[in-house]
Every structure is written in structure tokens, then in C-alpha cells.
């Protein structure tokens, strides 16, 4: 036995050395935020990749989040409630007929390469977006012709509208200004710089692009010479990393460990759980966002209005509130409460199985017995739980649900054509403006192909109403039109109307200066004023 004991001693000694070497270096690894050359880089851990950076192409929350930092626009939304603040434009005026808008530019604004942001740059950028005719182009489509955006002098730009447009100014914050010289130098084969701007930036914003590592991380460096300065005084703030962590568990872990400073897209439970920690705070804010389970009105069972009604009456609306742990309210109209002109619709569907069966009886499937496909964002816990709740709720009318998780780009692609658009598509849509037109237009054929247009609803009467609403300038005349529109949309039931949820993010307490604004999408962070201040 002495033999074995001596062997054992050696083994144990060896194991101790092994464990020792394993633990040693880890003690030096613990760090707070990312630090490069003495500068702090704030890490935002999100789930959605930044598909490109071009201000003239389609936008989503992650694209817009990056663009807001790399570029400036004439005006910017800030605060709660969201207000339009002067930005590249210091002031503006409107002619009496409402057709001519004149903007006076800040004289010290500089692009990242030092060249001035002048009237020509503004004109170039607007024309570029209008000609490419994607992304934000729809916002001014039919109201401003490219040639009617003109430079009056070095620091003055004028827009001549075809007809008065009440919501005009409210769309301008999403029209970012690009550096014409830089774009033209890198344009190839008349692509107007589309290839270059995919993964490069040509802006004047508070941050400059440092690294674009698709699918992994996107790094921006603070522009210390930003022409507008920063609202805080903290020289250690060096930049921001938008890092992709695809699972919420990983996001949470990174936050708790201090490997991430801000995480977005957590479920309510998760936010409430991390908030128990002393070094983590959460934000919560009612948003403008609507949520709807959009139905394809052109194909399959959901082409039948009675089936759509049946599903809408079978859905268990309380589950929305329960899934959100009470941090949500049901929509009482297709418009969210913060939208101007919102009215409560009296016959908004609520769970009523008898009524659902009544509608079902009028269809080709009086006893149910069919399957609907529910497509949602892969890994989005909230939407997955809604699917489970749907399976349970639709059992009562003998309808089964097939849950299909998909990545966001695939889902958008699927919903962009009437032939492929699924029966039910979970869509959060944040309007780009507080004007009611921004939501009404989602039910107009102009929105077909966009993620919120996957219903492909085409109703002549509704179209006429929407067009009348946007052409009118006097609010007294617009208000009744929008009331009518809301009722009409509910009658046509292109979606199961959902909820207004509080949204928010979780952050380390050393993150300072963050301000949410309802106009931003869930998970879209404006980090202009945000800085890190670890003790």
C-alpha cells in the first residue's frame, strides 16, 4: 500500500500544479468595460446583425442605430415624448402656402474627413436617396421631386413640395447626409456608392467607423472633434462596440460579468431578474410600437375574412399582458395611444369562442380542422411564447398552429411577396413619425414588400381614405378621416391586433447619460449622449 500512497502523492501534486496554472492567469482577466489604450469602449450586446450602413437603403433597428451615430440629419428626434431638435439645420421656415421649406445650416458642421457639411452635400444626399428609391425614399415619395431640393447658398437649402404635407418635417430625421466627395470617389459603375457604403461610412456624426466585422461585431470610435460637441465631459470615453450575442442567456451572462455594458432585447423576466443586482439598472418606457400578428389576406385560409375574424376572436389577448408581466396594454385601435388622432374602436375583437365559432361556421371550414403557419423571429422569446399561447388558444376552435422560427432577414424576404407571405407573421412596427399617416400607410399598397406590409391588404375604400388623410393639412379635417380609417382597418382584420409594450434595456450602473425616446425601435439605442464612468 505504501507504493500506492506514494504514487498517489505524486498524482495529487501534479493535479494541484495543473489546477494552479489554470486558475492563475484568469485572475488577471477580470476587467470592467473594454479598454483600448486607456480609452473605454462601451459594449452593446444585441441580437440583430447590422446588414449594411447605407442611409439610402432599407433600415431596421440595428442599421438605424449605427447610422444615427455615424451620420447627421437636418433634424433629430430626442427625448420623451419624442421631439424634433435642430441638428445640421439650425433653424427653418415655411412659406405661407406650406409648400416651400427653407433650412439654415450650422456653419461649423464637418464631415469626418474635415470637409464642411454644406448645402450641396444636403442636396446630393436627398437626391441620392430619392434616386436609389429604397429605404427612407417612400417617406417623401410624391411630395418632393429630386429637382425641387435646391441649394440657395452655401448654408441654405430649400425644399419645394408638390402639395402641402403635414408630416413633412417629422420624416427628415431619417434622411442622413453623406459626404458627396467621398461617395463619388468610391462609386463604381454608376452604383452611386452603394457598394462602398455597405460597410463603410461617409458621415459627419459623433462616431466614426473603426471596424465592421459582419456577423460578429461593429466598432465605432468617438469623433473627438465632433462639430456639435458632446453633452458630457468624459475624456475616457473612446468608442462603442455593437457586439452580436445571439442568445439572450449569453447576453445576460455577458452583462452580469461586465463583458457587456448594455444589452437589448431581453424579455421582461430577464430584465426583472438582472435588475435585482446592485450593479445593473434597467429602463422601461411605453413605446410607439404596435405589435400585430399579420395575416396574409391574399392566399391560404387567411384570405377569407371570416377565418381572420374567427382567429382574432379565438386569440387569448390576456396572454399578451401575462407574457409581459403586466408591462403592456392591449391595443384598442390599430393606432397606438401616443399617435395623434387615435380613437378607441368599440368592437375590437377580444377572446370570445362562441363568436369565433360563429365566424368559422360561415367559412369552408365550419369545424376548423386546418393548420395555420406562424412565423416569428428565431430566438425572440416573447414571440415564441405567443406562439405557444396561440397553439393553446386555437385548440378551442380546432385549429392547429405550426410554429416556424426564422432569422429576421429571411422572415422579411418571406413576407415581401404575396405568394410566400405566411398565414401569420409576428411583427413589431415602430412608426417613423408620430403623425397618424405613418401607421395608416402600413395598410396601403405602398407598404407591400415592406415587413409591415405582409398582409397585402388591398381595399379600395381604405386606400382612398388613407390618401385623403395625407393630402389634407388641417387637423380638424384630418381627425375624422383617421377615425374612419381605424374602424375600417379593424373591420378588415388584416392582423390580430396586439399590444403596446413597455420596452427597455438593461445596463451596468456605470453607463451614464442614456435617454430613451419612444420613436426609437425596441433595442435601438441612441448612444450620442451615453458615456461610461466606472468608479
Amino acid at each position: 500500500m505504501a507504493v500506492s500512497r506514494r504514487i498517489a502523492t505524486k498524482f495529487i501534486a501534479g493535479a494541484a500544479v495543473l489546477v494552479g496554472t489554470l486558475v492563475m492567469p484568469s485572475l488577471q482577466m477580470a476587467n470592467a468595460a473594454e479598454e483600448v489604450d486607456g480609452k473605454l469602449y462601451m459594449v452593446i450586446a444585441g441580437r440583430q446583425p447590422v446588414s449594411h450602413l447605407d442611409p439610402a437603403l432599407k433600415y431596421d433597428l440595428s442599421v438605424r442605430m449605427m447610422q444615427q451615430q455615424l451620420y447627421d440629419a437636418l433634424v433629430k428626434y430626442e427625448g420623451n415624448p419624442s421631439e424634433i431638435k435642430p441638428w445640421l439645420a439650425e433653424s427653418w421656415s415655411t412659406s405661407d402656402d406650406g409648400l416651400t421649406w427653407t433650412f439654415n445650416l450650422a456653419k461649423n458642421a464637418k464631415f469626418h474627413d474635415g470637409s464642411p457639411v454644406n448645402a450641396d452635400a444636403i442636396v446630393y444626399s436627398y437626391k441620392r436617396t430619392m434616386e436609389i428609391n429604397e429605404g427612407p425614399a417612400w417617406m417623401l415619395d410624391g411630395f418632393v421631386e429630386p429637382d425641387n431640393v435646391t441649394a440657395v447658398d452655401e448654408h441654405t437649402v430649400s425644399f419645394k413640395l408638390n402639395k402641402p404635407y403635414a408630416a413633412f418635417l417629422s420624416f427628415l430625421p431619417w434622411w442622413y447626409i453623406v459626404n458627396p466627395a467621398l461617395v463619388e470617389t468610391n462609386a463604381k459603375d454608376g452604383d452611386m456608392g452603394k457598394g462602398y457604403l455597405q460597410e463603410n461610412a461617409a458621415g459627419s456624426g459623433p462616431y466614426m467607423l473603426e471596424r465592421f466585422e459582419q456577423g460578429t461585431a461593429y466598432v465605432v470610435k468617438r469623433n473627438e472633434n465632433y462639430w456639435k460637441g458632446f453633452p458630457y465631459d468624459n475624456d475616457r470615453m473612446g468608442g462603442v462596440i455593437y457586439k452580436l450575442i445571439r442568445e439572450s442567456a449569453g447576453q445576460r451572462a455577458a452583462l452580469i460579468k461586465g463583458e457587456a455594458d448594455i444589452v437589448t432585447g431581453l424579455s421582461v423576466e430577464e430584465r426583472q431578474a438582472v435588475a435585482k443586482r446592485d450593479d445593473i439598472d434597467i429602463t422601461s418606457l411605453p413605446s410607439l410600437t404596435t405589435f400585430g400578428l399579420k395575416m396574409n389576406t391574399t392566399k391560404g385560409v387567411t384570405a377569407d375574412l371570416n377565418i381572420r375574424k374567427a382567429l382574432a376572436y379565438a386569440y387569448d389577448y390576456d396572454s399578451f399582458i401575462q407574457i409581459m408581466n403586466g408591462e403592456a396594454r392591449l391595443q384598442t385601435s390599430p393606432f397606438t395611444d401616443a399617435v395623434k388622432g387615435q380613437v378607441e374602436i368599440a368592437d375590437m375583437p377580444r377572446r370570445d369562442i362562441a363568436k369565433a365559432k360563429e365566424y368559422l361556421a360561415k367559412t369552408k371550414h365550419p369545424d376548423g380542422g386546418f393548420e395555420v403557419e406562424y412565423v416569428y423571429v428565431e430566438g425572440f422569446e416573447l414571440e415564441r411564447q405567443m406562439g405557444l399561447s396561440m397553439i393553446d388558444a386555437f385548440k378551442d376552435i380546432n385549429v392547429t398552429v405550426k410554429m416556424v422560427p426564422m432569422t429576421w432577414p429571411n422572415m422579411v424576404a418571406l413576407g415581401s411577396k404575396p405568394e410566400t407571405s405566411p398565414d401569420l407573421l409576428a411583427i413589431f412596427a415602430t412608426p417613423v413619425s408620430t403623425d397618424p399617416d405613418a401607421i395608416a400607410i402600413q395598410y396601403h399598397p405602398e407598404s407591400f414588400g415592406k415587413y409591415y406590409g405582409s398582409h397585402f391588404l388591398e381595399d379600395p375604400e381604405l386606400i382612398k381614405l388613407i390618401e385623403a388623410g395625407r393630402a389634407e393639412t388641417e387637423w380638424e379635417k384630418r381627425a375624422p378621416i383617421y377615425a374612419q380609417i381605424q374602424q375600417k382597418i379593424v373591420d378588415l382584420q388584416p392582423e390580430i391586433f396586439g399590444m403596446m409594450r413597455n420596452r427597455g434595456m438593461a445596463h451596468r450602473t456605470w453607463v451614464k447619460g442614456y435617454q430613451d425616446s419612444p420613436i426609437r425601435m425596441g433595442g435601438e439605442i441612441d448612444f450620442y449622449g451615453v458615456h461610461l464612468d466606472p468608479q
Binding site: 500506492s4 501534479g14 489554470l22 473594454e34 451572462a253 426564422m406
Partner: protein, 336 residues
């Protein structure tokens, strides 16, 4: 010996062609239209038709297989719908990561498994032996992904010993790409900080991945050691006053090599399969994670490519092990 290697290599080529045939067959049992799949969900009907002609999908099966083989021979593995890059480029980026992971796992399995097995034999039926046997039995039964999750949450999050996942910290400068394996590249360039960090990111996933192999190595070494300890020459050596440690290292270790090698050969396939699981848990950007993402998105070119590459590495490793066997054990040499 040279002739033997050559014969095995030729055999391997045939096996690979067989593998391609199987994978090709699988990619054709897919319900739905391969052209539409390849074109992606955003494609119009004309685009789908164009791809059908481009890829020769309108031709009969056999001629398509030939086209497929020629494409593979020229390194054309197709394009990933998910990453929108050539699959070949993706593999060049992800395969070294997986290789790094697997090599470290094997090292863990051997470095921990051999001594633990021997320790068990020395303490036969005592508490250490029972503990070790428990590890050996559990190692095969524990779901690798579950173990990975537990290691991640407790060793990394609660005790803060290891990073949560990935290959390197985000702001750590990447070592210049030579082999694609961060640890190796960092060492070549003398960047010790990057090496340590890359190694650190590898520890937990490799531990989780090594468990089934570790368990088998413990078992076989314990059995081997028990037998050895009862042999006359060991008793003799001890009688002659040779220290126990030397006895073990001189005799028992030598006996342990062959069965350990055999186990590695047997378990290597499991390990390659396991990368899919641990890479998914630790968000480790290797071919396993790549294949899983592709499978979830019905992105077929990458799946096919990963299958082929992993199959080929499995064959290669088994070839190497057989050769090592032949070198070490003259009795086997004649059989290969």
C-alpha cells in the same frame, strides 16, 4: 510502409467519393426545389430558373453528380445563403477554430484520462477508484451540451474563471492569419497575451467536448493498469527497489499507449459530432456552429461541405492512428 500508406490513401479517395455520393443523394431527397433553395427566399421565378440552368439542375441525376464532383474538385463548394460568402472561404475561416478545439480536447482526454485510469487501478475499489469510475461511467451518459451549459454558468459566470464564449475578446487584436488557429498563430508571432487569451477561451469547450473520450480512456487505462500491476515483472521491479513512480511510468505507460490510441480513433468521430453541440453552447465560431446555423436555415451548400470536410478529417485521423499503431506494434503491421 510507404506502399501501405499509398494503398490506404487511394482507398480513402474512393471512400470520399462514396461519401460525396451519399451526401449528394441526401441533398436530393430534400423536399422542395433545390434551385429555389439555392436562390434564397428573396428570389424571383426568373432568378430561380437562371440558377437551375446555371447549376445544371435541369439535367439528369448522374450528369449532375459529375458536375457536382467537378465543382468540388475545383474548390467550389457553393455559396452560403446565410453568410453570403463562398462556402470555401467560410470553411477556411471556421475549420481551424474547430481543429484547435478538437486537438485540445484530445489532449485533455489523454492527459487527464491516462493518470486517472491508473490512479483508479492503484486504489482499486477504494474511494478514489469509485469516484473515478463514477466519472468514467457518467462521462458517456452526460449530455455534452448540458454539461457545457453547466460549466459555462458556474465556472465562468459564478466563479469567473473563464470567458463565457467566443474565440478571443472583441478588442484583442487578432494574430496575423497563418494557420487560422489563434493559439498557434499567436505563438509563431510571439504574441503571448493573445495566446493565453485564445487558450483561455478554449478550455471550457474542450473540457466539455473531451468528456466521452476521457471516460473511455479512463476505463481502458484502469483495466490495463490492473492487469499490469499483477504481472510478475512489476512485482520483480519493486522487489529490486525500483521506485513505484518509475515502475508505473516505465511499464504501465508503455502498455497504455496502444489502447489509448485505439480509443482516440473510436471516439474521434463522436468528438467531431460533439463540436456541433459545444460550439453552439459556447458561441464558438467553428464549423459545427456554422453547420447548425445552416441546417436551421435550410442552407444546404455549407452542410454538404461541412459533412465532407469532417468525414475526410475523420478518415485521415483514423489512417494516422492505424499507422501509429503499425509503428508501435509489430504484430499489427502485417494486418493493415
Amino acid at each position: 510502409m510507404g506502399q501501405l500508406i499509398l494503398r490506404r490513401l487511394v482507398f480513402m479517395v474512393f471512400m470520399l467519393i462514396g461519401l460525396m455520393a451519399i451526401v449528394f443523394a441526401i441533398s436530393n431527397i430534400a423536399p422542395g426545389d433545390p434551385a429555389r433553395l439555392a436562390a434564397g427566399p428573396d428570389a424571383t421565378n426568373e432568378m430561380v430558373e437562371q440558377i437551375r440552368v446555371e447549376r445544371g439542375l435541369d439535367k439528369p441525376l448522374v450528369s449532375r453528380f459529375v458536375v457536382y464532383l467537378t465543382n468540388l474538385a475545383t474548390g467550389d463548394f457553393g455559396t452560403s445563403l446565410h453568410t453570403k460568402r463562398a462556402v470555401f472561404d467560410d470553411l477556411a475561416r471556421y475549420f481551424p477554430a474547430t481543429l484547435e478545439l478538437v486537438v485540445l480536447s484530445i489532449s485533455f482526454a489523454v492527459l487527464l484520462g491516462v493518470p486517472l485510469g491508473m490512479l483508479g487501478a492503484v486504489f482499486q475499489n477504494k474511494v478514489p477508484d469509485q469516484t473515478i469510475r463514477f466519472i468514467a461511467v457518467s462521462g458517456v451518459a452526460l449530455p455534452m451540451f448540458w454539461l457545457g451549459l453547466m460549466l459555462q454558468w458556474y465556472l465562468s459566470l459564478e466563479w469567473d474563471l473563464f470567458p463565457l464564449g467566443g474565440r478571443l475578446g472583441i478588442m484583442t487584436p487578432r494574430p496575423e492569419n497563418i494557420t487560422g488557429m489563434y493559439t498557434v498563430d499567436a505563438l509563431i508571432q510571439g504574441d503571448f497575451r493573445a495566446f493565453r487569451e485564445a487558450f483561455w477561451h478554449l478550455v471550457l469547450p474542450s473540457l466539455a467536448l473531451s468528456l466521452p473520450a476521457l471516460a473511455s480512456i479512463i476505463r481502458v487505462n484502469r483495466a490495463e493498469m490492473l492487469e499490469t500491476l499483477n504481472k510478475d515483472y512489476i512485482l520483480n521491479a519493486q522487489a529490486q527497489g525500483i521506485g513505484p513512480f518509475r515502475v508505473v511510468s516505465a511499464y504501465a505507460l508503455k502498455n497504455a499507449i496502444l489502447p489509448t490510441l485505439a480509443i482516440i480513433g473510436l471516439r474521434f468521430g463522436w468528438m467531431l459530432g460533439g463540436t456541433v453541440l459545444v460550439e453552439s453552447v459556447f458561441d464558438f465560431p467553428g464549423v459545427g456552429l456554422y453547420a447548425t446555423k445552416a441546417a436551421v436555415n435550410s442552407d444546404f451548400d455549407p452542410i454538404v461541405a461541412v459533412t465532407l470536410v469532417l468525414g475526410a478529417s475523420f478518415m485521415l485521423v483514423n489512417l494516422i492512428i492505424d499507422l501509429a499503431y503499425a509503428l508501435l506494434d509489430p504484430r499489427v503491421r502485417s494486418q493493415i
